[in-house]
Structures are given as structure tokens and as C-alpha cells.
């Protein structure tokens, strides 16, 4: 059974943009570091960060690649508020295959980060269990207030049929 059809193919190339709502802020950075038990002083100690050559404290690299902070809507029934394509695929579970982040420069608490998601590709592959599954690759491009790229997040999600057909 093929999962990929013309309707799904028409989603390739779609874009969605989430504008910056506010500066990233020192509290967000400190909260993230604290949640991870990360005692790196670059994230909380202004003098230390300056002595290391930065204009101020900086954000841990992966913080801005977290999806939900750009959204502004009520949680869905799973509690999720972040970006989702809502592809017309039923009877599948979604599994994160991986992420490929590129970072252009350290992000500062004063940065206003916006993100544009692009649905880059949908590919059907055989699964090791004999069925087929879909690999959906999206790219998020994070830009600062001047429009300069600060990070790219290429993310692949697998849509795996709940009961794979041979």
C-alpha cells in the first residue's frame, strides 16, 4: 500500500512563518539551563560571558530550535502548542527520526527570533518490518530582527502505519 499520493505531494514547499513576539530574554535562557542542570556560566553570568568575549550572556545553542516557544495558541488535545503541518495522513504514529541543527552565531537575550518552516520533502520508504512509511522533512530557519539567519533546523519525522501492511 502506498502512503504517498498527489494530495500529499502538493504539501511539499509549503511555508509557515511565526514572527518574533518579544526578545528571547535572560529568564528564558536561565530557565532552560536550570532545567538541564547546565551550570555553564556563559548562560547566567554577565561578567563571565564578557570575559569570554561575548557581548552578554548567551543562549545554549539548541534553545531557539525548540518549536513551541514561537506559537501563540491554545494547546491541542495532546497538550501541544507548537508548529505542526496537520498533514492529511491517518492511521500513523509520528516518530522523530532526527534533527540537524546549524548555528551561525551565538544568540543573545536581546535577540528577537522569528522562524519560517518549510516542508522540504516527503519520501516513502520500505520499513524493516515489510510495510511502507513516510519520511517528512521540514526545515526551520531562524532569523534575527535584521533578517539575518542565526540557525537552521532540519527535522525528519517518520509517519509509521499503526498496523503495517505487507
Amino acid at each position: 500500500m502506498s502512503l504517498l499520493n498527489d494530495e500529499l505531494r502538493s504539501w511539499i514547499g509549503r511555508e509557515v512563518h511565526f514572527p518574533a513576539r518579544e526578545e528571547l530574554g535572560r529568564a528564558s535562557i536561565r530557565y532552560f539551563a536550570l532545567a538541564l542542570g547546565d551550570d555553564n556560566p556563559l548562560y547566567v553570568d554577565e561578567d563571565y560571558a564578557r570575559a569570554a568575549g561575548y557581548p552578554s550572556v548567551i543562549a545554549p545553542p539548541t534553545l531557539i530550535c525548540e518549536t513551541c516557544q514561537y506559537a501563540h495558541r491554545a494547546p491541542d488535545r495532546h497538550g501541544y502548542i507548537g508548529h505542526a503541518w496537520e498533514l492529511p495522513i491517518t492511521g500513523c504514529r509520528l516518530i522523530r527520526a532526527g534533527n540537524d541543527y546549524e548555528f551561525m552565531r551565538p544568540v543573545l537575550p536581546t535577540d528577537r527570533i522569528s522562524v519560517t518552516w518549510t516542508l522540504e520533502d516527503i519520501v516513502e520508504r520500505k520499513s524493516s518490518r515489510g510495510g511502507t512509511q513516510l519520511f517528512v522533512t521540514s526545515v526551520a530557519r531562524y532569523r534575527d530582527a535584521a533578517g539575518a539567519l542565526v540557525a537552521v533546523n532540519r527535522e525528519t519525522i517518520v509517519y509509521q502505519p499503526l498496523s503495517p501492511s505487507p
Partner: protein, 141 residues
Amino acid sequence: MIRPTLSASSLKPGDKLPAMDQPMTTADLVAYGGATWDWNRLHFDLEYARSLNLPNVVVDGQAFGAVMAKHALAWLGPRAFMTRLSFKMRAMAFAGDTLRAEGEVADVRHAADHAVVVLAQRLKVGDRVCAEATAEVRLPD
């Protein structure tokens, strides 16, 4: 006084990063979910996780990347700048697991005014590999 940053010339392929343990209790998952605005019930609601046939609430996949970035940058020092982190999920991790971060230097590339160290990293729970990554980090030369 800031910590020294490792110099690229002191690193060679095969050098091991000191292993780092990252406990992932339910409270840790809640803290990470809060810090990333992620209120997905999968990460804190045990009944919901069990309804999906999972043994416990699930560690967020992007948290794996965050842990590997923490591991690499804690070792390399404050002037290190991560330019790339590419990770693949191999298995789920659950509340109560402790992730062990391991890794080694895969390559060192020298450019005109800086160097890039390439790390191969992984997160394990016991013998189970949960994620594997390649990180590229720019160091002053």
C-alpha cells in the same frame, strides 16, 4: 577568571570526552517541558503515556540534542562555538532513566584563523543507545 578553552592543536581523533550522566526524572521532564513551552502530555502524564502502550512518560527528542550540546561545550570551554549538531534517534528514553553521554573526537580541521573539531557523540541508557550525534565546534586556533 574564565575556564580555559581547549585548543584544537591539543586534540586528536580518538580523544574521549569525559562521560556525563544526565538523570531524567519526571520532575526533570516537567522542567524541560516548561523551559521549552512544550506541554505535550507525553512528557508528564503517566496515564496518557500508558494509554499509548508506553511504560512511562517520554523524554523529549530535542532534549537529547540539548544534552549532547551541554556535554560537548562543558568539555571544550567557553570560547568554543558549536556550528552544527546533527543527531539521530535510536530508541526512546523514559522518566527514571539516566542518560549517559559519551563521545570522542572524530576529526580536527584547521582553517586560516580557527579550527573545527568534529565530535561523535551518543546517549545511552545502560547498553541501549538512544541517540547518536555528530557535532562540529569551532575553536580559536
